[in-house]
Subunit: 211 residues, 2 copies
DNA sequence: GTCTATAAGCTGATAGAC
DNA sequence: GTCTATCAGCTTATAGAC
């Protein structure tokens, strides 16, 4: 494979990602991707024989990017829960600022084809050297331990985790709604997201810690 | 308009809603909608001349259903903040159980075409006899007042509201992800959603109320 | 109002020259 | 590897009979 080929290939993937994120699998046009990459449709098919193959490559990488850090943070050892929570919030709120459409894209495509998830999950699990279930159960166990010690309130660990991720991810998913409801422009929304990191971390501690 | 016509029309809208919720605007096929309604494509076009018109009718109603109760609850007078919060959580967690795909559908289509929002928002505002901004500012003011009185923690009202809605809506949006990550079947997920009402209400109070 | 048959347009994919 | 030209299939939309 020549250098030129790798360049073109990478350019295509980057363009495809942009278009897929904006329009989804069904809404994206091969013509748009080609144009964005500065090539024509025939060359696009030369590199990736079908739209599905191209999509799969983009999506797999995206899902991995979205899920893997979470699994990594959760499976780290020798780290207290407060730090773990801060890192999760930090990853999502900071990391997603660069790819604000990522969460909606993933959830959208996963809903219309849930089968995709299974195979990709395998890789994430392998990367973290343990089954995903174990990763979660480790994190859950740490919460339960804190509750037993009387340090945390008596909450449901799963509900807590869902809430934590929800608080981080929702503003990215519901961006157009927020802009309209709170009458914000792009700049104000950006400000909200920056400040959100600290705010959500505090909320999580409020939920968890006994007064 | 004959009785038959109203029946067929309603049947079409119900079928269209089902298909649009599952596949989105781009993914939905007029053929699927017709089949679901037990008619053929020509009759579909007889009632709604284009796919876009049919979609718009469904979407407008859905967005109204999704947003209006929130605006109504928020603009109610003579009601304390705790009750207001309980009602919001109740509406979303209970109400959305019947249309679990509604939030993702709305956010998805709104992202790919944000212009839709503006015109529909007008109607919602009119229905609640006040500008949406006023509704929100009323709610925000109530929070600020509690903070001044020393009853609530010093939080950002907008961040709080976004978090509250996020905690309610996120599990519906991320359903396939939750099922895989927590290894749940449809029944367990349903249980989680039922219990969620009380849990999220408590979380909101934990965030808000001073110890 | 409801149907069958068909037109018109778009989109992914390929053939073949360079 | 990259291009132009074109095909084949699908999907929306319409014509016209009943």
């Amino acid at each position: 494979m020549s250098t030129e080929a790798r360049n073109t290939e990478q350019k295509i993937i980057a363009s495809a990602r942009m278009v897929f994120h904006q329009k989804g699998l069904k809404g994206a046009r091969m013509q748009d991707i080609a144009k964005e990459a500065g090539i024509n449709q025939a060359l696009l098919h030369y590199y990736f024989r079908t739209k599905d193959k191209l999509f799969h490559q983009v999506f797999e990488e995206d899902l991995f990017r979205f899920m893997s850090p979470l699994a990594t943070i959760m499976s780290k050892t020798g780290i207290d829960l407060e730090t773990r929570i801060s890192q999760i919030v930090e990853y999502y709120v900071e990391g997603l600022t660069e790819s604000p459409n990522l969460p909606l894209f993933i959830v959208q495509e996963l809903t219309s084809n849930p089968d995709r998830l299974v195979s990709i999950m395998q890789k994430i699990k392998q990367d973290n050297l343990s089954g995903n279930r174990q990763v979660m159960q480790n994190f859950i166990y740490q919460i339960e331990e804190g509750i037993r010690e009387g340090k945390y309130k008596k909450i449901d660990p799963v509900q807590f985790i869902v809430s934590l991720i929800g608080m981080c991810v929702y503003p990215f998913i519901a961006r157009p709604l927020l802009k309209e409801v709170f009458q914000m422009d792009e700049d104000q929304l950006h400000q909200l997201l920056i400040q959100r990191k600290e705010e959500v971390t505090n909320y999580a501690f409020s939920i968890l810690l006994k007064p």
